[in-house]
């Protein structure tokens, strides 16, 4: 659909250009002898004339476009008419390029092209390196691409995380909670190495943006992502390089992949006589409770369901202006989104985003692109998890409310994130085939938080107020030069790139709080009697890299890519670690190999293999030996140890081998299959010295760890129907990953995050707890508790082995569109601490039934909680012993292992129905009023089925804390939206 629109836009320009060229050709042919004419038609496979298709001899830099009849007439100047063989190629947007070898021997040559439609968009140009792009059809690695512009027309997304979730093979998005504007993380392939934050690096329009999870004064220790401000409505597309094999040219930090976000920009004049267009979109929706707590199971569910029943409002207005001319294009947008989540009085965000993108072409050698994006938001998050104000604790998981609802409502956890992204990119072509690109950009990311607990709320604090500020200023500088040339009569094309990249980051962190206020209405920090937290941090670091990359292709069948990057990074106190990352890739378009004689039904068959290396830096100060800081306490200021580092520390190195097959058949089926092996070496493991050394609190980093990962990812697309009125596309993603810790120095295991372990022979961050082996009894046969294993044991992993999705897009009756996305996850564990806490607090019925049968509850409690029907078993009997064993190994909350359970789930993630009324409007109201009118309804998280009773898609902490932990965490809501979009 979008290609057709694009086609129409370009057509008029193209016709004009074609005519000019035609006239010029005719005129000049009268003057100059010994020229050559190449004439013909460009048609689609269905016989449709392709108007404005390119026909060119790339090596001679001459070409023309087809006219309204799909005809072209290319004049070859006499200087080139030398009986050499050259390649004449024809291309058209949305179609696959076709090449013919011709001999320039003068006279007139008649030649026609029949172009195949590029149904699976394999000709789309994608990024494959820091300064290189190629079409998907020949790329040496699997490059995933999300057409965000297309998706945001079908569905409404709160943020980047929702936009990416379920769309890409090998990439999983894990959210912290159902909080609006809450935190989230990527999980790439088999999880890369052991160091760093485990996250891909993110670029927006070529600027490296900060991708960190920040914890300020968070309600219940939940972190938030610095990417939360990015507005999906501003994004044109997202490309993802998934591992080191593809991302080596991005240097250090690229080991978990690279996410490249391109924002929307102006496309020039809309049509003849119309230089601009205004689009307006209005969204109206609500977040509602999807997970209704089972009142038969959870004793306090009824009241809690009533609290969660109050849904939240969503309202968004977006307006953008786009247009321009051949020399100047612009895109200006403003968007305001107000969204309330569950517990709407304390869980909302109000996000404003303004954007200006300008592209200028002062002459045909120069282009200048200016991008600026400012997002300012404010919002609140509801107190949950482990805090005395937790809604979950007070109204679901604990035995009674320790704080009443009115008091909790007065608790304020407010935040105001702002982000400015700005960049200037210049492209200059001083001579034919040489392109020099340079760019400068900034990511200014700031987060302010304010918390307030009113006086008289809690005896301990007697009023509390906290302020938190976190800022990142990150600058990106890029400079690169690319040269194209060919040898052996154009059979071999060579495309070397050399460049440099610099990233400079400043970060600051401040926190201040005060408690004990005399007057509840005066609660400025100065008015508090005491303070609890004062924090002041400031860091500055730089990274610089130089790279050289060379792409070589032979006969448009064999494509090879070789590259090397040398990186430098700040490491205070030691010499800057410099590290070299190589990469190499090969792809073969087997469908173009004549000797294979493949049937014509094979539209594309590509084999590819690539290898690359990347790394993760040690922390900025890991190379500093013993350092001291100042501590003040009890009226004394003194020197205490800050840290002990290892001057010999090196970055962790990640190597990846990726291979795959891309296949397209009958123009209706495509498959992209990729396998990979990853190894992480020199992983930095912190070893804690023995306590008697006096240094036990100061971990010493060593490059002793290693990890291996492998996996498989696949994307199948079927085009089942394709006609003027009906399109039916179905796609299916399946991924499998596994990973294993292979070395931890002289250790077998190392504690990692709460409840997890790094253990040789097991995947990273395995759950690790004492197992409940059975029941223990006293002399009278009464159950006394769980018999635990002597040692902690691995109990499964929070990262799923199997993930994937199924999506369908159905356009029917020409103007209706249905879209659906189902995601699934299998082979992972969740620590359901919410349920465990309920069991501890005697509000979880399955636990209570056993307790009642085992005589662990008093009669009043049994009476009060409707457990009288449970038969009390007699200690010592077989039934009693069997029930006790069952209770000890499945329910007894003293064993965490009992609540580490399967977290597999299937979710109907997205569903939408839209109607494009443009035709209708034009029919009845004429052509001039509206150029576009679309409306639709969509729903997110319509239904979820999980082996875990509550929401498995929430995560109390992130990697530094616990993974896969539901600890009184707000579940994901079900979201309904109605939207209407107008184009003027």
């Amino acid at each position: 659909m979008k290609n057709l629109k694009q086609k129409g836009k370009n057509m008029k320009n193209v016709q004009k250009r074609c005519l000019t060229i035609l006239l010029f050709t005719l005129f000049s042919s009268l003057l100059i002898a010994q020229t050559m004419q190449i004439r013909g038609k460009v048609l689609s496979t269905s016989g449709e004339k392709l108007i404005g298709a390119n026909v060119q001899i790339k090596t001679l830099a001459i070409g023309c476009v087809t006219n309204l009849e799909g005809e072209f007439d290319l004049e070859v100047p006499s200087k080139f008419v030398n009986s050499n063989e050259v390649i004449l190629s024809s291309s058209y947007i949305g179609f696959k390029e076709k090449n013919e070898t011709i001999t320039l021997s003068g006279g007139i040559l008649e030649i026609d092209f029949t172009l195949e439609e590029d149904i699976f968009e394999s000709e789309t140009v994608v990024v494959t390196g820091i300064a290189s792009k190629t079409s998907k059809a020949v790329a040496e690695v699997a490059v995933a691409r999300i057409d965000a512009k297309d998706l945001t027309e079908k569905q409404n997304y709160q943020g980047l995380s929702q936009l990416i979730a379920g769309k890409i093979a090998g990439v999983q998005v894990q959210t912290n909670s159902g909080n609006v504007g809450g935190g989230w993380r990527f999980h790439m392939r088999s999880g890369g190495g052991l160091n760093g934050n485990g996250q891909p690096v993110i670029y927006v329009d070529g600027i490296r943006v900060v991708n960190e999870e920040i914890s300020g004064f968070t309600p219940g220790s939940q972190k938030v992502s610095t990417l939360a401000g990015l507005n999906p409505e501003d994004i044109e597309n997202i490309e993802i390089l998934k591992g080191a094999a593809a991302s080596a040219m991005y240097g250090t930090d690229g080991s978990n992949g690279v996410v490249l976000i391109t924002t929307k920009s102006g496309k020039g004049a809309i049509k003849e006589g119309q230089s601009f267009r205004i689009n307006y979109k209005h969204v109206y929706g609500s977040n509602t409770q999807r997970l209704v707590y089972d009142e038969d199971k959870y004793l306090r569910a009824k009241g809690f369901n009533e609290i969660l029943d109050e849904g939240g409002l969503i309202r968004e207005n977006t307006v953008n202006l786009t247009g321009g001319s051949d020399q100047f294009r612009y895109y200006v947008a403003y968007s305001k989104r107000y969204e309330e989540g569950l517990l709407p009085f304390q869980n909302y965000m109000d996000r404003n985003s303004a954007k200006v993108n300008l592209t200028m072409y002062p002459n045909n050698k120069l282009s200048v692109k200016l991008n600026s994006n400012y997002v300012w938001s404010k919002g609140q998050r509801a107190p949950n998890e482990w805090s005395w104000q937790s809604w979950f604790g007070n109204y679901l998981a604990w035995d009674k409310p320790y704080k009443d609802a009115e008091a909790i409502k007065k608790v304020k956890y407010a935040h105001e994130p702002t982000q400015f992204l700005g960049s200037v990119n210049v492209s200059y072509t001083p001579i034919k085939n040489l392109e020099i690109q340079g760019g400068v950009g900034i990511d200014f990311n700031e987060r302010d938080e304010e918390v307030h607990l009113p006086k008289n709320y809690d005896g301990f604090y007697a009023g509390w107020r906290g302020l938190y500020n976190n800022t990142y200023k990150q600058y990106t500088y890029n400079l690169n030069a690319r040269y194209n040339f060919s040898i052996l009569k154009d059979r071999i094309k060579i495309n070397p790139v050399i460049g440099t990249q610099i990233i400079e980051t400043n970060s600051t962190n401040h926190a201040l709080d005060a408690y004990k206020f005399e007057n509840p209405a005066v609660y400025i920090i100065d008015a508090g009697e005491e303070n609890y937290r004062i924090e002041d941090n400031k860091f500055h670091w730089k990274k610089a890299g130089i790279f050289f990359e060379n792409s070589i292709s032979l006969d448009d069948i064999y494509y090879m890519n070789l590259g090397i990057r040398k990186d430098y990074a700040s490491a205070i106190g030691d010499k800057a670690p410099s590290i070299i990352y190589p990469t190499a890739g090969l792809s073969i378009r087997a469908d173009r190999l004549d000797f294979l004689n493949l049937p014509s039904a094979v539209n594309l068959l590509k084999l590819r293999i690539a290898y690359g290396e990347s790394g993760q830096l040690p922390s900025l100060t890991a190379g500093l030996p013993l350092t001291w800081t100042s501590v003040v306490g009890g009226g004394i200021s003194g020197a205490v140890i800050q840290a002990a580092g290892n001057p010999a520390i090196e970055p962790e190195r990640i190597k990846e081998l990726e291979f795959g097959i891309d296949l397209e058949l009958f123009n209706m089926f495509s498959a992209e299959l990729t396998g990979y092996f990853t190894t992480a070496e020199n992983s930095i493991i912190n070893l804690y010295p023995a306590p008697s050394s006096g240094m036990a609190y100061f971990p010493f980093p060593f490059n002793v760890g290693s990890k291996e990962g492998k996996g498989f990812e696949s994307l199948f697309q079927f085009i089942l129907l394709r006609s003027a009125d009906y399109d039916l596309n179905v796609s299916f993603i399946y991924n499998y990953q596994e990973n294993e810790i292979t070395n931890l120095g002289d250790k077998e295991e190392q504690a990692a995050a709460t409840y997890h372990i790094l253990k040789i022979g097991y995947p990273a961050f395995e759950f690790y707890q004492y197992r409940a082996l059975g029941a223990e009894f006293d002399v009278n046969g009464n159950y006394t508790g769980v018999k635990f294993s002597d040692e902690k044991v691995p109990l499964g992993n929070p990262t799923p082995a199997h993930t994937g999705s199924f999506s369908v897009n159905f356009r029917f009756l020409k103007n209706f569109n249905f879209y659906g996305l189902v995601e699934y996850v299998a082979g992972n564990k969740v620590y359901g601490e919410t349920v465990k806490i309920m069991a501890e607090n005697k509000v979880y019925r399955p636990d209570l039934e056993y307790r009642a049968a085992l005589g662990l509850l008093n009669d009043d409690f049994i009476q009060d909680n409707g457990l009288t029907h449970i038969v009390k078993l007699t200690p010592g009997t077989d039934e009693y012993v069997a029930a006790a064993e069952e209770y000890a190994t499945n329910y007894d909350p003293s064993a965490r292992a009992n609540y580490i359970v399967d977290g597999d789930y299937v979710v109907i993630r997205e569903m939408s129905l839209s109607y494009t009324a443009t035709d209708l409007i034009k029919k009845y109201l004429g052509n001039d009023l509206l150029s576009e009118f679309v409306m639709g309804v969509s729903v997110r998280n319509l239904a979820k089925w999980s082996k875990y009773d509550l929401d498995p898609e929430v995560n109390y902490y992130s990697r530094t804390g616990a993974i896969g932990l539901d600890s009184m965490t707000l579940p994901q809501p079900r979201t309904f939206n109605f939207w209407v979009k107008l184009g003027l």
Binding site: K542, V631, V632, A690
Partner: protein
């Protein structure tokens, strides 16, 4: 072509150098200094402050956990509201600490960190720092050696007093050494104390400070002798120890360095960590209301429907500013009294002097050994001494159980001597 290669190569090399130069040019860290920068006279006061902070940070946690193990504080989930099984407190309460329990592991680490810090200062003072030849500098050096040596000795005293390899085999390890029994650790501590005494002799024109510190060291030597049961040595050291009116040695805390007694044994009104043993109120205070001057407590309703007590000696009434007494003339007086009673004499006068120092008018008369131990219990309430007293006098309530904290698993698993 060769020329071109040469140009390229030079360009790349220059660029490499420029990159390296560029990335190392960053703002200095504002939160730390290097170890080398401490090797100057100007930085010494700051380091001496660091030793004291490290000591204060170690002892509060050690003492509150030792008091929990003794009969002074108790932990009971079924009685104290809001008290939850954290960090294996119950194991300490019943004298069954595990070697991977956090409280004992923390204590072990903190004591070693104190020693490491003090040893570092001593090494810099003796071997690295160039002192100028002025009286001020000489005095600074003397004070530094005194303080560093004292805390090195003190850390060894703590290690030998509160840790063991078995339930009543006291001692510990230093720098991954083999197990060092209590007697040996005490000998090492005495050597360190002697070194600090030697250093303090070098103080010029400061007799008052010099003599006070000599008395202070002797007071610790007296306590160690008492723990070892050498009463005559205890008496002779005590006679050279702190005198009535001498300042106590205090560990000071505030909101920036919070005292563990507040955290563990003084929660908010609705939550209580450890309770104060009933006998302090039901016996000692009811028998003599004047004891309220030494025994401060609050009363609450417990889960079981009965009342319970919480210590109020350390509280946040004055912010979080609290002080733990590490050594006082009162303790020295009680050591003298105990020695007197043990050798058939009378300690009443000394004990009454101690009581009077709190403004108590009631007196003791013909106090026996048992009575003296009760006096010690009240006078030295919540200073970590009670466990040592119970053990040395055979009155430990968890008879046959652990009388000390186990050397932590983190140590035994990494130390090849185990």
């Amino acid at each position: 072509m060769n020329k071109f290669k040469l140009y390229m190569l030079s360009f790349l090399m220059l660029f490499s150098l420029a990159c390296e130069e560029f990335v190392t040019d960053v703002d200095p860290l504002i939160d730390r200094v290097t170890n080398e920068s401490l090797e100057s006279e100007e930085q010494l006061e700051w380091q001496l402050g660091g030793i004291e902070i490290q000591a204060n940070d170690a002892v509060d946690h050690l003492f509150v956990m030792a008091d929990l193990m003794s009969d002074a504080l108790y932990y009971d989930e079924s009685r104290l509201s809001g008290s939850t099984w954290t960090d294996g407190y119950g194991y300490l309460e019943y004298g069954t600490p595990l070697d991977d329990n956090r409280p004992s592991t923390t204590n072990y680490k903190m004591i070693a960190l104190l020693r490491f810090t003090a040893e570092g200062v001593l090494d810099r003072v003796e071997n690295k720092i160039q002192f100028s030849d002025t009286q001020e500098s000489r005095n600074l050096k003397a004070r530094a050696i005194f303080k560093a040596s004292f805390y090195i000795g003190y850390s060894k005293y703590l290690l030998g007093s509160y840790f063991g390899i078995e339930k009543n085999n006291f001692g510990g390890t230093i720098n991954l050494s083999a197990f060092i029994p209590r007697a040996e650790l005490y000998d090492m501590a005495v050597a360190d104390f002697n070194k600090s005494l030697e250093a303090i002799q070098n103080l010029e024109n400061s007799d008052e400070e010099k003599n006070y510190n000599i008395r202070l060291i002797n007071s610790f030597l007296a306590r160690m002798a008492l723990i070892e049961g050498d009463y005559s040595a205890a008496e002779s050291y005590a006679n050279k120890g702190l005198l009535q009116g001498d300042d106590a040695l205090l560990a000071k805390y505030d909101s920036k360095l919070e005292c563990s007694y507040l955290d563990a044994a003084y929660y908010g009104s609705s939550n209580v960590g450890f309770g104060l043993a009933d006998k302090f109120v039901d016996d000692y205070v009811s028998n003599d209301p004047e004891e309220l001057k030494r025994i401060s407590y609050d009363q609450f309703d417990g889960i079981d429907g009965n009342k319970f007590y919480r210590q109020n000696k350390y509280n946040d009434n004055n912010g979080a500013n609290v002080e733990i007494t590490l050594m006082s003339w009162q303790e020295v007086a009680l050591i003298k009294a105990e020695s007197a009673i043990r050798s058939g004499g009378n300690g009443d006068e000394l004990v009454n002097l101690v009581r009077a120092s709190h403004g108590m008018s009631s007196t003791v008369n013909n106090l026996n050994l048992e009575g003296l131990l009760v006096e010690r219990e009240k006078e030295l309430l919540l200073t970590g001494i009670r466990l040592l007293d119970q053990v040395r006098t055979g009155t430990y309530h968890n008879s046959g159980k652990w009388e000390c904290f186990p050397i932590p698993l983190e140590e035994t698993s990494q130390n090849n001597n185990f």
